[in-house]
């Protein structure tokens, strides 16, 4: 993979595939307010967040500002990162998503409250199906790479295009029901592949 920076080169290539290392960097930011760890996170994620936002249609300058905001939020909220709940890239994806809704759409994003007395509890995870979110994330990524082309296409369009599924259907020239069934299949396949490798 192509990287920038002389010293950062080898490290960058390394941390690209090492989610546990990224999690340790976030932990160092949270616990020690470690600026060097933050710089590593910034160099890894800043350009990716910016690239992701631009693929979602943000103008270059908007994407730049948002990406900086997102990284600042990473610094501020590092203590809220929970490696038992999500991989670092997933956590940062949700920060970028929420900033985008807040800044570009000027809307709120309602979410369930994990402390809500009405919250229906999760079923207890069985011991043999436990794996770290970092491992799960790596497998989800591999599984996505093996999806059939038609499923992968509706999946990526769903993330990158800020349009309803009815418009995705129109663009691809397929019925809405087909878009939905392809997404259903994609979810099942990814879930099955992630679970399968555990046994």
């Amino acid at each position: 993979m192509h990287t920038h920076g002389v010293d950062g080169g080898a490290l960058m290539t390394h941390i690209t595939v090492d989610g546990d290392h990224l999690a340790r960097l976030v932990r160092a930011v949270a616990d020690q307010r470690d600026q060097a760890a933050f710089v590593s996170l910034f160099e890894h994620f800043g350009p990716r967040v910016k690239g992701f936002l631009m693929r979602q249609g943000a103008a270059e300058s908007e994407a730049e500002d948002l990406a900086q905001d997102v990284m600042l939020t990473v610094w501020r909220k590092a203590a809220q990162f929970d490696p038992a709940k999500a991989a670092v890239s997933t956590w940062i994806f949700t920060i970028a998503r929420n900033r985008r809704i807040d800044v570009l759409r000027r809307e709120r994003r309602p979410e369930p409250d994990m402390d809500d007395p009405l919250l229906a509890p999760e079923p207890e995870p069985s011991a043999e199906t436990y794996m770290s979110k970092t491992q799960a994330q790596a497998r989800i990524r591999q599984a996505m790479a093996t999806l059939p082309q038609d499923q992968a296409r509706v999946l990526t369009l769903s993330f990158y295009e800020d349009i309803p599924h009815s418009e995705i259907a129109e663009r691809l020239g397929i019925p809405l029901g087909t878009v939905k069934s392809r997404l259903r299949l994609a979810f099942r396949k990814v879930k099955a592949m992630v679970g399968e490798e555990l046994v």
Partner: protein
């Protein structure tokens, strides 16, 4: 309590990707409160988003980006940490218990909110009303046995039951159950006898009502 009617994976994915409107997101958030299975699918979708971020082609940041952000770190430090409010769901009273994200929009005890009379046995409380995008979410309170005006719609209509139950062409919907209707589907929910039924309904396009009475009721409901 087991939830029987769920949103499609496509809808949960749109929510996870951040592409659902505020009103539609509110209905999904209410359903997620009652449904760990759908929370699981949203978490899976978010992990897919994280994987796409991992694989995203990096775009060069501005030359002074890092310096600019580092300069803001200390300011960010000084900013007050977000205040953790008391568990919001606990504040609900009057016998009607609403999920925390819904209660946020009601802004207090639903018993004291300004419910509007829109027809015999039907009251509503607007929660989201965006005139520009026509995005709308409202609580509907139906007396036992009350029939909702017959309607169809051009966009997406999401309904989640928060109290009681109703029945329509698709079956019985009780607390936590969610209906997802798109296109020209018509349906006619009937609140179950014995208890009132409270639903959260969101649309991203105005509803069309059929029949004389509903046509009179529709303008009042603001659909």
């Amino acid at each position: 309590m087991t939830v029987k009617h769920h949103p499609s994976e496509a809808l949960l994915l749109a929510y996870a990707a951040g592409h659902l409107s505020e009103a539609l997101s509110l209905v999904v958030a209410a359903h997620l409160t009652y449904c760990p299975d759908c929370r699981d699918i949203v978490a899976e979708a978010e992990a897919m988003g994280g994987a796409l971020l991992d694989d995203s082609p990096p775009a060069r940041m501005g030359g002074d980006a890092l310096a600019a952000v580092l300069a803001r770190l200390t300011t960010a430090e000084a900013a007050a940490p977000p205040r953790r409010e008391a568990p919001r769901g606990a504040a609900s009273g009057g016998g009607l218990r609403l999920p925390a994200p819904v209660l946020d929009y009601v802004g207090g005890d639903p018993a004291h909110a300004r419910w509007q009379w829109v027809g015999p046995g039907i009251r509503q409380l607007d929660l989201v009303a965006n005139g520009r995008t026509r995005d709308a979410a409202r609580l509907l309170r139906l007396s036992p046995g009350r029939v909702m005006p017959h309607h169809s719609h051009t966009g997406l209509e999401l309904t989640v039951v928060l109290h009681g139950a109703y029945t329509d062409e698709q079956g019985r919907f009780a607390r936590g159950d969610m209906a997802e209707l798109d296109g020209a589907v018509e349906h006619q929910p009937i609140a179950e006898a014995g208890d009132e039924c409270v639903c959260l309904v969101a649309t991203d396009a105005p509803l069309r009502f059929h029949g004389l009475l509903p046509r009179m009721v529709a303008p009042m409901m603001g659909f």
